[in-house]
């Protein structure tokens, strides 16, 4: 292949005054602003771009758009590298680096090309059949090295990406002639219209016809462009719709590269969507049709019109469609030599340009040259003598495939058109219509009329046709092939995946019938191009081999994205910390100054512990826990879930929600409660306090508040709508500072809390609304540590200053902050339940000893009936018990299995929580154990990572069983 740049003024899309240069595999490539990577390479005569996926055959640029199967390059270096990018779809930029992905050690000398010599040994399904024994994984690494395409980036992508949502009345996808007309007509009838095009300029097919003076296309295009702008249509170019989703949602990717944002993802909701996505040319199939220099005819034409690039010095057109003749006329007008037109049909619909030889009823049967073409061999379909024609480029025009991807993704059906041999949209969808070539309308005037009517909202059936009669079959006859007198070369159906006509035939012979199975068996239609240029040829071939019409064979399912998309564009900046932003507590800064080691707990950033010097978390937590037992600790519990319940039926409603009875609470009193799902499983717990006759304060777990509020709302609105209740989640409005330890009240008294709140005056499990320092607070006496405890709930913005004041006053009492890990030690010593640690998706209240009083309760609370199911009454259920190491020194790891015989064997239970108790001087643990309540005093065997341990089953709490420390 020996492409070259045509003289000015050819090349409507390039700016010859702005030269640029970039590096391709170490070669300095010169181009102009407006060039794609592909057009610049072709303009410099570089035709050999890469090596094929499996056989490592030389491959070149095949198309001029996003359907490109072979012209794949890696763009950029290091972290900026984007692999397997279509050279035809990437704007050339000054200083960029483009590299071939799949060639080792270099493109010219690809050692893996030896695969091609053994091609006959590597048919479809080769890997499945060959590498079965003894194990595929033995072979996989080597095969992965050999196969595949580009190389991924070295690290996190440093580029910026963006996402925008948009609502429009009418979205028109594709700014070719039909799309522009539809957009114009919609705008003229008063609609707000957005028009998108995947290319850098509008015009589509019409823009590529400007070389043929008789087509008058440039004037028509200029006129349409002017009218569209005047009608107020907003046009966005370089923006490809990747997929259509429910209710007219289009997701589009815009290439921006403005120095700040690389790509922008658009989520566009439209009342109506008009598809004008055009058509993709269908290549002719002939031996060695994969050689660099064999290209789609429309691409050869576009390189000439848009970029002023001749793809070869002598071009042969292989066609089965009248559009091949139009391309010949364009090339002729640009002064590019067309050596011949090889038409597989017996008659042609259009005349060839003067002086161009036409071979009717003939096919190409051989292509000579490996990395570049030097000639093609033509033979009559009936046989006879073959004739060689010197040429360096073959323009292949086998008909057209309407780009029905989006129609199909939206659930639209397809219909096979026998005349033009293509699938067209069947009935239009609700809110989604197709116009122009993607609807099968190839006759310009009729297509424009139809687009106009559609744009105005008067949908009529699309005028399918305009290509004349195009045969489905695109392969040379056996008679033509036999003229070679030797075995013909491989005919490639899918250039990207190295799937040949032989592979399709083999699949048919092995009784593959479904086109979906054909795809998976041969890999036809997979990877970056998704078979845009190969699917129709493959299914026609499959139909021939299995004696079925293409309509019966059908297409594979179209799925988004229409073209490969950078994962980062989909993430649109939601990476790293922004992937799931963590909540910070109102006292965050105070914890920082006190050396808090922050970790994530249920979406909150909280101090796990306050490590001193080089202390590890666990020893720090043990020290903090012991300090709470002996002195006083300060803890921020702001993430604790808080919900307020108001209304005349609040008490009755809570009786329906909780296992316990809340309606009997006196004002100011608080009670622990368990929440169940309707299937009886524990799903949250916490304290309920009554603030007034019709007003309750609810604490939930920190991680569970959203689902508790959701469940309450669902029950209230859907099942107990007659209960007059308001449910208000207030977690983030209230801070929570907890003071625990024998000196807790001493600290609060010194900090100015009123004597009426002292332990004898304010009872455990009560809540008071009082003023402190002029701020209204809700003070609760409760304890998750077993020590005297006050939970101070206050407006969130005062949390920081309260923590500050308590730590200043607290110096006198050696008050120290304690973190989540210390809290876990304290509550384990007390045997208090920690939801999600001691319970799982099967735990019922009886399993944790919390089913007392249910029988006496009146309300049919959520989950109650499920506690009577046979599974709930099973005597073998696991129950929560305490464990002490038999030697009183070995720690019992969380997750350790309680076993009766050596694993693998069914287990008797498992350790759910474990801690070293400083105050007891030994490790303690909680465990779920089969029939556990009846096994107190037993010694059991624990198995953990190959180690066995002995432990004694004991009652909890481990510490202060009588609860005497609650009073300080």
């Amino acid at each position: 292949m020996s492409g070259y740049r045509l003289a000015a003024p050819h090349g409507a899309w390039i700016d010859r005054s702005r030269a640029l240069r970039f590096d391709f595999n170490g070669v300095d490539v010169k181009g102009f602003a407006g060039d794609t990577v592909a057009s610049a390479l072709l303009g410099q005569g570089i035709g050999h771009i890469g090596r094929s996926f499996k056989l490592h055959r030389p491959r070149g640029i095949f198309s001029c758009g996003l359907e490109e199967p072979t012209g794949l390059v890696d763009i950029g270096v290091g972290r900026y590298r984007t692999p397997n990018t279509r050279a035809t779809d990437i704007a050339a930029a000054d200083g960029m680096t483009a590299k071939t992905g799949n060639a080792w050690p270099s493109l010219g000398l690809d050692l893996a090309a030896i695969n091609n010599k053994f091609a006959a040994l590597m048919p479809a399904g080769f890997y499945y059949k060959t590498f079965m024994w003894p194990d595929w994984h033995l072979f996989e690494p080597a095969i992965r090295r050999m196969a595949g395409l580009g190389v991924a980036a070295d690290g996190p992508d440093p580029d910026r990406y963006d996402e925008v949502s948009q609502q429009v009345e009418v979205l028109v996808i594709g700014a070719g002639a039909a799309g522009m007309q539809a957009a114009l007509s919609a705008a003229q009838s008063g609609r707000q219209v957005l028009l998108l095009d995947s290319g850098p300029r509008p015009g589509g097919w019409l823009a590529s016809q400007s070389l043929r003076s008789e087509a008058n296309s440039q004037q028509r295009l200029d006129e349409l462009t002017r009218l569209v702008a005047a009608a107020g249509v907003s046009l966005r170019v370089n923006c490809t719709v990747l997929g259509l989703y429910d209710h007219q949602l289009a997701v589009a990717l815009e290439t921006v590269n403005d120095g700040t944002v690389r790509e922008r993802l658009w989520k566009i909701r439209a009342e109506r969507i008009i598809l004008a996505t055009g058509a993709i040319e269908r290549p002719m199939l002939f031996p060695d049709n994969d050689r660099p220099g064999v290209m789609l005819a429309s691409a050869v034409e576009r390189y000439a019109t848009h970029f002023g690039v001749a793809c070869g010095k002598r071009i042969v057109i292989s066609t089965a469609c009248d559009s091949g003749y139009d391309v010949a006329a364009s090339l002729n007008a640009a002064g590019i030599e067309v050596a011949a037109i090889v038409d597989s049909r017996e008659t042609n619909g259009r005349a060839a340009p003067m002086g161009v030889k036409v071979f009717l009823d003939s096919s190409i049967v051989a292509v000579s040259g490996s990395r570049a073409i030097n000639s093609v061999t033509v033979a009559a379909n009936r046989g006879g003598d073959a004739q060689a024609i010197a040429a360096d480029c073959v323009a292949s025009a086998g008909g057209w495939t309407p780009a029905v991807n989006l129609h199909s993704m939206a659930g639209g059906k397809l219909r096979w058109n026998d005349v033009a041999s293509m699938f067209v949209p069947d009935l239009p969808l609700k809110g989604i219509e197709s116009v122009g070539a993607c609807a099968g309308a190839f006759e310009l005037e009729l297509a424009l009329e139809h687009a106009d009517a559609t744009g105005r909202g008067n949908a009529t059936p699309a005028p399918v046709g305009g290509l004349g009669i195009v045969p489905a079959r695109n392969t040379p006859t056996l008679a033509a092939l036999s003229t070679l007198g030797r075995r013909p070369g491989k005919i490639f159906v899918d250039l990207q995946n190295d799937v040949s006509a032989d592979d399709v035939e083999l699949a048919a012979r092995e009784n593959y019938r479904s086109v979906e199975h054909l795809k998976r068996y041969t890999t036809m239609g997979m990877a970056t191009d998704q078979g845009k240029t190969s699917n129709i040829n493959a299914l026609v071939l499959m139909g021939e081999l299995t004696e079925r019409k293409p309509a019966e064979v059908g297409t594979t399912k179209f799925r988004p994205p229409v073209k490969p998309v950078t994962l980062n564009a989909l993430a649109a900046g939601r990476t790293g910390e922004r992937y799931r932003p963590l909540k910070r507590m109102p006292g965050h800064a105070w914890h920082e100054t006190h050396g808090g080691l922050f970790e994530e707990f249920g979406g909150w950033l909280r101090p796990a512990a306050y490590c001193q010097n080089s202390e590890e978390v666990i020893p720090a937590a043990e020290r903090e826990a012991l300090h709470v037992r002996t002195h006083v600790g300060i803890f921020e519990g702001s993430p604790l879930g808080k919900i307020e319940i108001y209304g005349p039926d609040a008490a009755a409603f809570l009786d329906l929600m909780y296992v316990g009875t809340m309606s009997t609470l006196a004002i100011g009193q608080a009670r622990y409660g368990l929440l169940l799902r309707e299937d009886g499983v524990i799903f949250d717990d916490g304290i309920v306090a009554r603030l007034g006759e019709q007003h309750f304060w609810i604490n939930t777990t920190s991680g569970g508040v959203d689902r508790v509020a959701l469940a309450f709302e669902e029950w209230q609105q859907c099942e107990y709508a007659n209960h007059r209740v308001l449910i208000t989640p207030v977690t983030s409005s209230w801070g929570n500072v907890t003071v625990s330890g024998p000196k807790a009240w001493k600290l609060l008294a010194a900090a100015g809390f009123d004597e009426s709140l002292a332990p004898p005056n304010m009872k455990h499990m009560t809540m008071r609304e009082v003023a402190y320092g002029g701020v209204k607070i809700r003070l609760m006496r409760a304890s998750f540590s077993g020590e005297l405890g006050y939970e101070i709930n206050l407006p969130a913005l005062h949390t920081q200053s309260l923590l500050q004041r308590l730590s200043e006053v607290g110096r006198e009492f050696d008050a120290k902050p304690y973190g989540i890990e210390a809290l876990m030690v304290l509550r384990t010593e007390k045997g208090f339940l920690h939801l999600g640690a001691d319970t799982d998706g099967t735990t019922l209240p009886g399993d944790v000893g919390m089913d007392r009083g249910i029988a006496k309760k009146a309300a049919n609370f959520v989950g109650r009936r499920s506690l009577l199911r046979p599974v709930a009454l099973d005597a073998d259920r696991m129950q929560l018990v305490g464990l002490l190491p038999a030697d009183r020194t070995s720690r019992l790891p969380t997750g350790a299995h309680i076993v009766t015989k050596n694993p693998p064997a069914p287990i008797d239970g498992f350790v759910t929580s474990s801690a070293y108790s400083g105050v007891l001087g030994m490790p303690v643990a909680l465990a779920m154990l089969k029939r556990g309540f009846a096994r107190i005093g037993e010694t059991v065997t624990l198995y953990h990572l190959g180690r066995t341990l002995r432990a004694e089953v004991v009652k909890t709490p481990f510490f202060d069983p009588k609860g005497e420390r609650l009073e300080g």
Binding site: L249, K430, E678, E713, E714, Q717, C718, E719, N860, R865
Partner: protein, 92 residues
């Protein structure tokens, strides 16, 4: 992503809502058989076609409401109050 017509807030994208599954399932009394309770807890029809289901406009007004949705085409027919009966002869 669908768009749903919240009776209070109007047409909004699906990700503002939370689907609560089949609507108007009657909660059996406490003295029902295990089989009746089991059916209530675990068994749903999962129809291909029209399905009456409840949704909550979680990131909006927080209200539950009912819709009839075609599970094949995602077309939404009737939208009605959470305690209202399903309108008859709904043809989306």
């Amino acid at each position: 992503m669908m768009q749903l017509q919240c009776p209070w807030c109007g047409r909004r994208p699906e990700n503002e809502f939370h689907c609560g599954g089949t609507t108007a399932i009657v909660r059996p009394p406490i003295d029902c058989s295990d089989e009746v309770w089991g059916n209530y807890l675990f068994f749903r029809k999962n129809p291909k076609g029209l399905h009456a289901e409840r949704w909550r406009h979680t990131f909006g007004c927080g209200q539950w409401f009912n819709i009839v949705r075609d599970t094949v085409t995602h077309e939404v027919g009737a939208v009605y109050g959470i305690t209202e009966a399903q309108p008859r002869a709904v043809d989306p």
